[in-house]
């Protein structure tokens, strides 16, 4: 048969197509027959289904986010270091971090003989779980939250603070002095920075009167000046410094300072257990950035509210058979339309150059038009995009800091928290409370 002459991709297709078609037909038949029953079951157990869906969604969010962040960090820091960075696997090395994850998964999972085995095994789970569970309360868009808890902020600080327990467990159980120092540093740092972190947010809680993250985002909906970064600038600065320390990022990455204590709490870990620490670190960065953008940068609110509300109703169905013809013709016509003036500007411009320029201009304009339409007509997607844009801008700031700054010493770090951040956050709290009292 022609089997031996097929490429590997062709073989995969030849196997998968029948399976998919038969499986799809079977699934459709099952849904038609048992659809009402499944629907009734889901309806009867809605809380359980909601919980399962939320868990799956948070898991689906954290894993790609961690991969994306690892890739971002590798690439951005490489550019800052005037290196090329990952460039072999995938376009511009984009799949590098996934392969990295696979490599970690396949490595030997070694347990040193003198460690405290149960604690040693549990520590990465605790660390990962703590950062994983906080994703649930992040308000990606008004109706796009895994669990829209009324006390979301409190939940966030409570669960987020659990992570340090895992770090201490790892440091203590590893039977290694570097790990011990790393764990103790993590504990000291987390406890010190937890206080200004929490106190700086109390001003916002006073102003909005709620602990629910979606409601806090909603409170910033008016205009750009309603964002809390403008109403609570001091709190924003304190909060930013504190989350840098909470996420163990440079310049506050004393817990895993490789020049001093090798790898801190993770010194004795290998394989996927180390991978969990690594993942948790990046998920943490994403979470704290998301929290900052929700609390201070208006979350999913657009920076500028349009003074008009465009109603773009394009009824594509009414075009009938003209739709495919138009869709085929529009790019050609648009390209030619924009290429003509470029071609006429100078005789030095060759035909293909003009066509390329025209195609690029048409592409940019049509993308902008579709984007504008989506912004006007599909608010959840636009909101999600704004939220992610702000979050990733903050993540970029963290990566930028890592590329630029040296590390603070542990005593400077602690002194800064207790001598400057704590009084400043108390001052901010006092001023906010006084202002609220005087104006009401």
């Amino acid at each position: 048969m022609a089997w031996s002459r097929l490429t590997p991709g062709g073989r995969a297709l030849a196997v998968l197509l029948p399976i998919l078609s038969i499986g799809g037909a079977a699934l459709t038949a099952l849904l038609i027959v048992a659809g009402p029953f499944i629907g009734a079951t889901i309806g009867a157990n809605l809380p359980i289904v909601r919980f399962l869906a939320a868990s799956v969604i948070t898991f689906l969010v954290t894993v790609p986010v961690a991969f994306l962040l690892i890739y971002m960090e590798m690439k951005i820091i490489a550019l800052m270091n005037l290196r090329i960075g990952p460039d072999r696997i995938g376009p511009a090395g984009a799949v590098m971090s996934v392969v990295h994850g696979l490599k970690v998964l396949m490595k030997e999972d070694f347990t040193p003989p003198s460690v405290d085995v149960p604690v040693f095994t549990l520590a990465p789970v605790v660390v990962y779980l703590a950062s994983f569970m906080t994703v649930m309360v992040i308000p990606f868009a008004p109706d796009l939250t895994s669990a829209g808890l009324e006390f979301g902020l409190l939940y966030f600080f409570a669960i987020g603070g659990l992570g340090v327990v895992g770090l201490m467990m790892a440091g203590w159980s590893s039977f290694n002095k570097y790990s011990l120092l790393g764990g103790i540093r993590a504990a000291a740092q987390a406890i010190s920075y937890e206080i200004p972190l929490t106190l700086s947010v109390v001003g916002i809680i006073i102003l909005t009167g709620t602990l629910s993250l979606p409601k806090i985002v909603e409170a910033q909906g008016g205009s750009l000046l309603d964002w809390f970064i403008f109403r609570q600038p001091l709190a924003a600065i304190i909060f930013f410094i504190a989350i840098t320390a909470e996420a163990n990022r440079t310049p506050f990455d004393n817990t895993e300072a490789d020049q001093e204590i090798v790898a801190g709490f993770a010194t004795e870990y290998s394989g996927m257990r180390f991978g969990f620490f690594f993942f948790a670190e990046y998920v943490n960065v994403f979470i704290v950035s998301a929290l900052f953008s929700a609390l201070f940068l208006g979350g999913s609110n657009a920076p500028i509210n349009l003074p008009f509300h465009p109603e773009i109703n394009v009824n594509l169905g009414s075009l009938g058979v003209m739709l495919p013809i138009l869709a085929g013709l529009a790019p050609v016509a648009g390209t030619l339309l924009f290429a003509a003036p470029i071609y006429m500007v100078s005789s030095k411009i060759k035909g293909w150059q003009a066509l390329l320029g025209g195609f690029l201009i048409f592409g940019a304009l049509s993308t902008a038009a579709i984007g504008f339409w989506a912004w006007a007509m599909l608010p959840p997607i636009a909101d999600l995009l704004f939220f992610l844009l702000k979050t990733f801008a903050l993540i970029f700031t963290f990566v930028w800091m890592r590329g630029t700054l040296p590390r603070a010493r542990i005593d400077q770090l602690m002194g800064f928290a207790w001598k400057w951040l704590l009084p400043a956050s108390l001052l901010n709290l006092f001023a906010t409370a006084a202002a609220v009292l005087l104006t009401s």
């Binding site: 820091i77 270091n81 039977f175 300072a257 020049q259 700054l405 040296p406 590390r407 010493r409």
Partner: protein, 404 residues
């Protein structure tokens, strides 16, 4: 020693046996000095063993740090992991081969390790080095000094936790190293100086690369230093750390930038001139503070002075031969000679004794890194673990030279 009851602790020398029944046996008598130290630890103290494989020891150095929490109580550098017996090897090689053995001692600036023995042997032989060869030596040595100092700058920032500066400094170092490779054929261990001159005249590729680099060197150095010098975190971590006073520095035999950072303007290039340095115009940068930041700043100023020297050398270099007329087999008269150069880390000296044969009777190498490594203990005591790295980096020892 006291018969104290040993408790289960991370510092137990019999750590490999986790059986609990052993912990309550009477304390063993210390067999070695190190074991005695372990058994005499006070409450709350512990030893941390840094190296020989550790991310921030420059080369293969082991430091045993006694810490109380984060604070360093005592610190003991353990040397010898890189010992090759270079001095003894040199005694069994003829004078040309001895230069190859001293070459890899200070491997980040190996031209200075050639210049010192070559200077000593030339004194033994009483040869006059041609003027052009002298200028070429000054030119290449200053280039190597810049390469070493830029690398130091990156190392210093890396040991304080910044990752970008080291890669930025490697741009400079790579350019200089490639330049010297075009001249000497080697990137790290050049083996370029010969007794009585240098091995080969300047070539076109070297000169074009050098001209290219000189046109942007100052700006590049400024951009590299701008990343670190004005950084609040860097300055706060190094200012006032590991302060070395003049008296101690002179008593310990400190030389080079580490001495000049305490305010003593001692530079062999000016005070005991060799080659054509007396004819060149340059400053000896000093600082008065004597702390890690001062040691760093002195080196940065020296880079600028070196660029100035290279500029003058390129303008004044005469034509002529690059090698003196000497017999193929070198057999100096019996006697002794001391040759010293001002290396990037301090005075680098070689004391050679000749007994009239074609091999040196005795060769003693004075390496500044060895002297400076003694200071790590006294300067770090009482500071934090993180400061050990900052002090080590600012003293800039190279283990190849320490262990010889």
């Amino acid at each position: 020693m006291t018969t104290q009851q040993t408790r289960p602790s991370l510092d137990d020398p019999r750590i490999a046996i986790p059986s609990t029944s052993e912990w309550y046996e009477p304390a063993p008598t210390a067999q070695t000095e190190r074991q005695a130290e372990f058994l005499n630890l006070r409450d709350g103290e512990m030893f941390i063993n840094m190296g020989p494989q550790h991310p921030s020891t420059h080369g293969v150095l082991r430091i045993v740090v006694k810490v109380n929490g984060e604070q360093v109580v005592d610190l003991d550098p353990v040397l010898g992991y890189l010992h090759r017996g270079v001095e003894k090897l040199c005694e069994n090689a003829d004078y040309h081969q001895a230069i190859c053995y001293t070459d890899p001692l200070e491997y980040v600036a190996s031209l200075f390790c050639e210049a010192a023995p070559v200077a000593a042997f030339e004194k033994l032989m009483d040869v006059e080095v041609p003027r052009r060869a002298q200028y070429i030596r000054v030119l290449t040595m200053e280039l190597n000094r810049i390469a070493s100092h830029t690398l130091f700058q990156g190392w210093m920032a890396l040991d304080l936790g910044g990752i970008t500066p080291i890669l930025w400094s490697f741009i400079e170092r790579d350019e200089i190293v490639d330049m010297l490779a075009a001249l000497t054929g080697q990137k790290l261990l050049y083996n370029y100086y010969r007794i009585g001159g240098v091995n080969g005249d300047l070539n076109h590729e070297f000169m074009s690369r050098l001209g290219n680099w000189m046109s942007r060197a100052a700006a590049q150095i400024d951009s590299n230093t701008g990343l670190i010098n004005e950084n609040e975190l860097f300055v706060r971590r190094t200012r006032g750390l590991g302060t070395l006073d003049q008296a101690t520095a002179l008593r310990m035999g400190v030389t080079g930038p580490n001495l000049r950072a305490t305010g003593v303007p001692f530079d062999l290039r000016r005070d005991h001139p060799y080659l054509v340095y007396p004819e060149l115009e340059f400053n000896v940068p000093t600082r008065d503070e004597g702390d890690s930041l001062a040691r760093y700043m002195v080196r940065i100023d020296e880079i600028r002075e070196s660029i100035r020297i290279i500029d003058q050398v390129l303008h004044e270099m005469p034509d002529g031969p690059v090698m003196a007329k000497l017999p193929r087999l070198i057999r100096p008269r019996p006697g002794r000679a001391f040759g010293a150069v001002e290396g990037p880390r301090g005075a680098y000296g070689v004391y050679a004794i000749s007994d009239g044969t074609d091999q040196p009777f005795r060769m003693r190498i004075h390496d500044p890194s060895f002297v400076h490594l003694q200071l790590v203990g006294p300067l770090t005591r009482g500071n934090l673990i993180a400061d050990t790295m900052a002090v080590m980096a600012s003293l800039d020892p190279v283990m190849g030279g320490v262990d010889k």
